[in-house]
Amino acid sequence: MIDLGRSCTRYRPVLVDFVDRGEVHPETGLALAHLDRCSRCTEAIEGTMLTITALRRLGDEVGTVEPEPDAWPRLRVRITSWRRRPVYMSPLAGMAMSFAIVAVLIVPFRVGNGGLGGSAASPTRQAAPATSLADRRIEAAYLALSRTPPTSTSLAVGSVPQNLPHEILQVRKEVHSAKPSGRPSEPI
């Protein structure tokens, strides 16, 4: 009993090699004999031959195309720009420098909440007024102070300006010597 399906699978690559490249395998004779009596393989090989012919025709036409005449001048410009570019440092040093720059830019934002960090992290308008009210009053006081020329009485060394807002004036505390209260001392 002849299993034509299995023979087709076996012989078809051999037949394709033969019609495509003229390759002759030990089984080529058997494959051609199979081709004579197998209509499915005949149809498949005819279709393959048409496909190969179409590909070769396309190859003939692709083989005639050439790049634009200005291909080299454009490439030369590109290469020349690289050659002119000075090399400042090795790639390793460049990477180290990049890390250093990134660190310098990022560390002030990360460490603590000072500097630009507060405004960059929470750019809302509500955060500022709580602290700025007192600051503004102090600033206004200093501005007022700077407009009046200093006198020996108003701004003596170690003294406090008298026109500062009340809440920031220092309250002097009198320190007296301790008097005995009369109670017995507690054991330590």
């Binding site: 495509d20 496909t51 012919t53 396309l58 195309v65 790049p67 291909a71 490439l75």
Partner: protein, 196 residues
Amino acid sequence: MDAELLRRVQSDDLDAFEEFFARYRSSIYRTAYGLTGDRQAAEEILQDTFARAYQRRHTLHSDVSPLPWLHRVSLNLCYSRLSRRRLTTDPIDEATESSRADDAPLPAEHAERAELREIVREGIAALPEKHRSVVVLYYLQRLSLQETASVLGIQLGTVKSRLHYALRSLRTHLEGDRRFGGAYLAPNDEVEANAS
């Protein structure tokens, strides 16, 4: 000759690099064009391939032809480009028209050929990447099986196997297209000569 040229290229001789470019540009351009089907894309891939060759000139071996390496680079650039966007597969007609000035076929014949080219190009574009590569290098670029294997870095048997599957897929594609009648097959065709 390649070795001497490569040595000059490696010593930063720009004139030698121009000669290197002139020697291999057509082959690389046609591979890129065969795969993308787009002249503009092929031009850009040509530029990028040789720009990379210039950057890597010190790593090229002077005892081996640089052509397989150049082909590999251009294939990779084609694939990355094709994966980014779907290129049109039409302009092969425009590209080949300019080269056929004197022996131009009759309009009807020309239209029929153009249509057949389009069908085949669509079939190639529909192939899986690895099958498309072997078809372009072997049938369109006319590299040998061994050269194709070398460019793709695969075994000779793998090239044959991929060609077999690619041909089968293409045949199915072409037979499924109503425009593909097979009438263009010339009586004195070389395939017939092989089969007889």
